[in-house]
């Protein structure tokens, strides 16, 4: 081999070794980066997995609530209602929600039963998730004044409850309430609001003012340990 050939071989060999070393460094860096990205993914994943389940519904429309103190505390003295517009209303027996969209099937009508208040102050919501409770010490459908309050489960251990679909009702949807006399009253959805369960406004249960419909169910954070949601979702509707 000529000295020139030896030189060429050495130079080329050196270049090849240099290139291979550079590639090796890049691969090493990539692998280290891989480990770092993996660690970040494990951390983020663990955080997400530890978060409680949530059901959030955006507020919408106009909340027709007059300013009212939060339920509880000292009750105001009872006011005797002005004498009788003779329209006491009738007990509701069925809640009919519209189909969630064009071509969709309307949910099965939910039976409505009268309910009262527990000694704790909690409204008695029927245990059967398919059944809706009507607060019978308040306004009745067809009555001259006051808000008809219907409350039902968003879900139970058996699955979605009668009020699950209420959360998805667009403003302007028409909800129907059938009464015990066979009449059907239509209400148009005008608003939606989410409240901390501990701060449910007592004005929701008003017996005076213009006639309306108030649908109450649950939302917010679901605590799997206690089996309760943190919030109430309230949907307002007014007679069509």
């Amino acid at each position: 081999m000529t000295p020139r050939a030896v030189l060429v071989t050495r130079v080329l060999g050196g270049a090849r070794r240099g290139a291979s070393q550079a590639w090796s460094r890049i691969a090493r860096l990539a692998l280290v980066l891989g480990v770092a990205v993996g660690l970040a993914a494990v951390g983020t994943g663990a955080y997400l997995a530890s978060q409680p389940a949530r059901l959030d519904i955006a507020d919408a429309g106009v909340a027709p609530l007059p300013p009212q103190p939060v339920a509880g505390g000292n009750p105001p003295p009872p006011t005797v209602a002005p004498p009788a517009a003779l329209a006491p209303g009738r007990a509701p027996v069925e809640l009919r929600l519209p189909a969630p969209g064009d071509g969709a099937v309307a949910p099965r009508p939910a039976a409505v039963v009268p309910v009262g208040v527990e000694p704790s102050g909690a409204l008695q919501v029927p245990a059967d998730g398919a059944v809706v409770g009507w607060w019978s010490s308040g306004a009745a459908p067809g009555g001259a004044q006051g808000a008809v309050v219907l409350a039902g489960h968003v879900d139970t251990a058996a699955g979605a409850g009668a009020m699950r679909q209420v959360l998805d009702l667009p403003l302007g949807s028409v909800v129907e309430v059938a009464d015990e006399a066979g009449g059907v009253l239509a209400y148009r959805v005008t608003g939606r609001e989410q409240f901390d369960k501990a701060a449910l406004p007592r004005g929701l249960f008003r017996a005076d003012g213009p006639p309306g419909l108030v649908l109450i169910t649950c939302g917010g954070t679901f605590d799997a340990r206690t089996g309760h949601y943190s919030d109430n979702v309230v949907v307002y509707a007014e007679p069509v």
Partner: protein, 217 residues
């Protein structure tokens, strides 16, 4: 308010007497008329018993006052119903019906605020039912005297309903609503989180293994 109510009740009573005097025994009241007389009479008996329960068991002044008013008014209303039934030859039962007796027993079994709330809720329902029965008699009864009694009783019953609704606002409004205990409607990030964590672990293991192999080579 009280004067107006008294006038209303006196008018109702006077109207009942005048009608009964002017229209003596008709041929035969319809089944609807007879049913309403029985329903109204049993309703009055149940209301009077409810009023007495309020006097005996409630320490709430408003509820006791309303209880006394309910006793007085329904005794007057029932005097007209009983007189009309006598004139028309309709036999009236001597006691409230089984459902009303069960409700009385159930509410009377409670004490304190629990009694007050249950009593208010019971009276609201009972007065709504009485109004509905009266509306039906006015719409589909046939004996004018009986129909007039039903019409005259309506404002009195409505005033009781208005007062019990006002009491419910003051003492019985729900303070909370627990309407979900399944959690299925809530969106959980558990699955996403676990998936992400598992993917991350896999990347760590593969990258780590490759690094170790290179270090040894």
């Amino acid at each position: 308010m009280h004067v107006a109510r008294r006038t209303l009740i006196s008018l109702a009573a006077a109207l009942g007497i005048v009608i009964l005097a002017v229209l003596p025994a008709q041929a035969a009241p319809s089944q609807q008329d007879q049913n309403w007389l029985v329903t109204a009479h049993q309703g009055n008996l149940a209301e009077i018993a409810a009023g007495q329960a309020a006097l005996q068991q409630s320490s709430n002044a408003e509820i006791r006052d309303l209880g006394q008013m309910i006793i007085d008014d329904h005794q007057r209303l029932d005097a007209d119903v009983t007189a009309a039934a006598g004139q028309l030859g309709v036999t009236l039962p001597g006691t409230p019906n089984a459902t009303q007796q069960a409700e009385l027993a159930q509410v009377s079994g409670l004490t304190g605020e629990e009694f007050d709330r249950a009593w208010i809720a019971w009276q609201i329902t009972a007065h709504r039912q009485a109004l509905a029965a009266g509306e039906q008699e006015v719409a589909s009864g046939s004996d004018p005297a009986v129909k007039a009694l039903a019409a005259a009783a309506a404002p009195v019953i409505q005033s009781h309903l208005d007062m019990t609704l006002a009491l419910a606002q003051a003492y019985g409004v729900p303070t909370s609503v627990a309407a979900g205990n399944g959690g299925s409607a809530a969106e959980s990030s558990l699955g996403l989180g676990l998936g992400l964590a598992a993917g991350g672990l896999l990347v760590i293991v593969l990258s780590g293994a490759a690094l170790v192999r290179r270090a040894r080579a």
